[in-house]
């Protein structure tokens, strides 16, 4: 009995490895989210898909180690920085123009190496019992005020936070970024592992306000509708209003260029875009697809004018974070 089970398991593993027309995807996005979408893709196109799920940065590091020997055809990443890093290392190939053109130029690689599939806005989440929206500053820079001492939370090891600091550096310069980080440090913020932990801590009343991505709130509210937390969007054009993207890139050396193109195109079809919007409260990036009702429109959020490809310049950011003692 046990032997039979083992045998079938081993056989199933090796047979999937041998099947020819399957597209191999490395996904930094969660299985729960991506799985059902991939099923639809296979139903629609007949192309089988195998997925390795993992954390986006770890998969990016793995792809860099694997180099041209990678079994992956497509990288579906949680943020633009990872795609930028792979692009810089020469690991990605250009996408077809028709696919790229579906998305606003702000949300794709200027050299066409990757395209955004959904948007995630930086917001200030706050505890509604302790803070009134009117008390919140118009700019993210306002949180260096001493009245926020001991009331803030952030997740400085988190990639989305670091991407925001990179944006801050690019928009306002290293000095301003240093000043902001030092100012926040002076307010003794609580440090969390990730965005979800910040939102949880807000719910517990451990902190009053925290710097996170917009959709964590809705995920947390799904399991606890009473959670006393809300999102606050800073003024349009402010570095704190940065909209980063999850996106897709095709790896150099894939033998399945056509199938990979179909996959990228599929993620930008209305069906997939609607799915992201409904399941994760992320911003759809293709025109004509509705944004979730709870959210202000992408135009109103007003992401600052910035080439997201440059968010891969994380080394400078990490050094800055370390020099200011944040990391």
């Amino acid at each position: 009995m046990m032997r039979k089970l083992l045998l079938t398991l081993l056989l199933s593993v090796s047979s999937t490895a041998l099947a020819a027309e399957t597209l191999t995807v490395y996904s930094g996005r969660n299985e729960k989210l991506v799985g059902p979408l991939l099923k639809k893709f296979t139903e629609k196109t007949g192309i089988e898909v195998k997925v390795r799920y993992g954390e986006t940065p770890q998969l990016a590091a793995t792809l860099l180690e694997e180099g041209d020997k990678t079994p992956a055809d497509v990288f579906f990443a949680q943020d633009a920085g990872a795609l930028g890093a792979l692009g810089n290392a020469g690991r990605l190939q250009a996408l077809p123009k028709a696919t790229l053109d579906k998305v606003d130029a702000r949300f794709r690689s200027p050299t066409g190496l990757w395209v955004g599939t959904s948007g995630r806005a930086r917001v200030v989440a706050y505890n509604t019992k302790k803070v009134k929206p009117a008390d919140l500053p118009k700019s993210i820079l306002g949180f260096t005020d001493a009245k926020w001492k001991g009331r803030l939370g952030w997740a400085p090891t988190n990639a989305s936070f670091q991407a925001f600091v990179t944006a801050l550096r690019l928009l306002k310069g290293d000095e301003a970024a240093t000043a902001w980080l030092k100012g926040i440090q002076a307010n003794e913020p609580r440090v969390y592992k990730n965005n979800a932990a910040v939102v949880e801590a807000l719910g517990r009343g451990e902190i009053d306000a925290g710097f996170v991505n917009h959709y964590y709130l809705y995920a947390a509210k799904k399991s606890n509708a009473e959670l006393p937390v809300a999102n606050y969007f800073v003024a349009a054009g402010d570095p704190g209003a940065l909209v980063n993207v999850a996106g897709v890139g095709i790896l150099q050396g894939t033998k399945q260029v056509d199938n990979a193109h179909k996959f990228a195109a599929f993620l930008l079809e209305p069906e997939a875009q609607t799915y992201f919007s409904q399941e994760t409260y992320e911003y759809p990036l293709v025109k004509g697809v509705k944004t979730a009702e709870a959210l202000p429109s992408l135009a109103k959020v007003g992401s600052p004018d910035l080439d997201l490809s440059r968010l891969d310049d994380l080394r400078g950011t990490v050094k800055l974070l370390q020099d200011t003692g944040v990391l």
Binding site: Y53, P57, A61, E65, E66, G81, Q162, V199, V318, L327
Partner: protein, 521 residues
Amino acid sequence: MTRRPPGWLLVSGLVVAALAVLPAVYLGVRAAEADADTWALLWRDKTWGLLWRTLGLAVAVTACAALVALPLAWLTTQTDLPGRRGWTVLLCVPLAVPTFVSGYVLLATFGNGGVLEEPLSRWGLPVPSVYGFPGALLALTVSTYPYLFLALRAGLLSQDPAWLEGARSLGMSPARAFWKVTAPLLRPAFVSGALLVGLYVLSDFGAVALLQYDAFSRAIYVQYEGAYDRTYAALLGLALVVVTAAVLVLEVRLRGRAGYHRSAKGAARVSAPVSLGRWRLPALLLCGAVVAVGVVLPVGVLVYWGVRGLVGESASMMAPALGSVLASVLGAVASVLGALPLAFLAVRYPGRLTLAMERVSYVGYALPPIVLALSLVFLGVRALPFLYGTLAMLVLAYVVRFLPQAVGMVRSALLQLNPHLAEAAASLGQSPPAVFRRVTAPLLRPGLLAGAALVFLTAMKELPATLLLAPIGFETLATRVWGATAEGRFAEAALPALVLMAISALGVGLLVSQEGDAPRG
């Protein structure tokens, strides 16, 4: 001391040692790309601060784990404590609790808005802060004391009762006899268990990150997390290898050179259990308290999450459970097999080379698992493309990571085994394999089983290497738990986490029941 080991033993030992040293080689290759700026990053005051904080935590956790593990190991092996086997199993389970669960339990209990806040504030008492050092110390002690517990148990079980009985018959009090006879004989088991605890702390990322304690592994992780900067991460990793090497050299000093095996007559015999008398209740309370913190609390939290999530659909646990068990059992067996030549060479043929081979097996263990996983990606795509992406690669990763757990256990068991027994069998015309099968292996059984149990338990919850190296589509309970918690869906994480803990407890139970039948040599 100048006996030469047989060639086949030396070669198999060298192969295992070469595998074990792989992560360090990988780090060396990546670190070689570093420019002056990157080196400058390493030589900053911050690095030294990290180093001290990490070492301080490692020492403190080891000390606390010893305080917990020693009495528990003694109670469950040497006394008439009621339900010894049951306690043994329960006391091993904390090893199988994924770190994010134990960390969350602490936060949910002691954090702001946690369970303790209201009752404590009613009495006007402050809630003890769980962040930083105290929290990390508590979380890591609870999750690592089983290493020492299992090591000390194996040590106690294979100890010759003749020593203790001799001391008692000469008029020593039980307590004095314990400290004068039993405890010194436990030294190898204690030191190898303590090493596992200490080095685990060096590598741990989960607890220190969640509880906001800035340690070395966290600094390394940050690099992979956001910076895609493999060079600086490699430098930090190499620094950790150097620290590990220092610890390993120190351990050799602590080991001493005494002989630990039984007196000439090798009859297997079980010692009479010590009667606890009126100490029975306090002993039960101690076991109960540790189980309450290490098992009941996390299970409670998981059940609470699970109940909240019961409205959602529940996916089948069969495939991931099978995947976990398959990979972990293979990993445990392979690790013990790999540990045997290293331990034999180090104990039976002591010398610089054999000692070095045994020592390097610890390198992979003290590194953050992501470093180890990437080093195997590095090796796999270049040297073993036919294995890359198969289950064999994952098992290999488990061996490289968990080898020292098996080496430590096998080694301390071997130290307590009188070499004359095997020599006598050989002189009676038995071939070396027959000697091993008929004499050595049965006598080593407690050590082999303890080693396998440790690897099995830790492999069950292993995550980074499993995600990156398992065949695509291969699921384990740990990856299920991760899949759910990564997006903050704790309710869905509860079921796989509970199944994971249940299977782990079952595995330990199976091993403990085997242990009882073993002849004690």
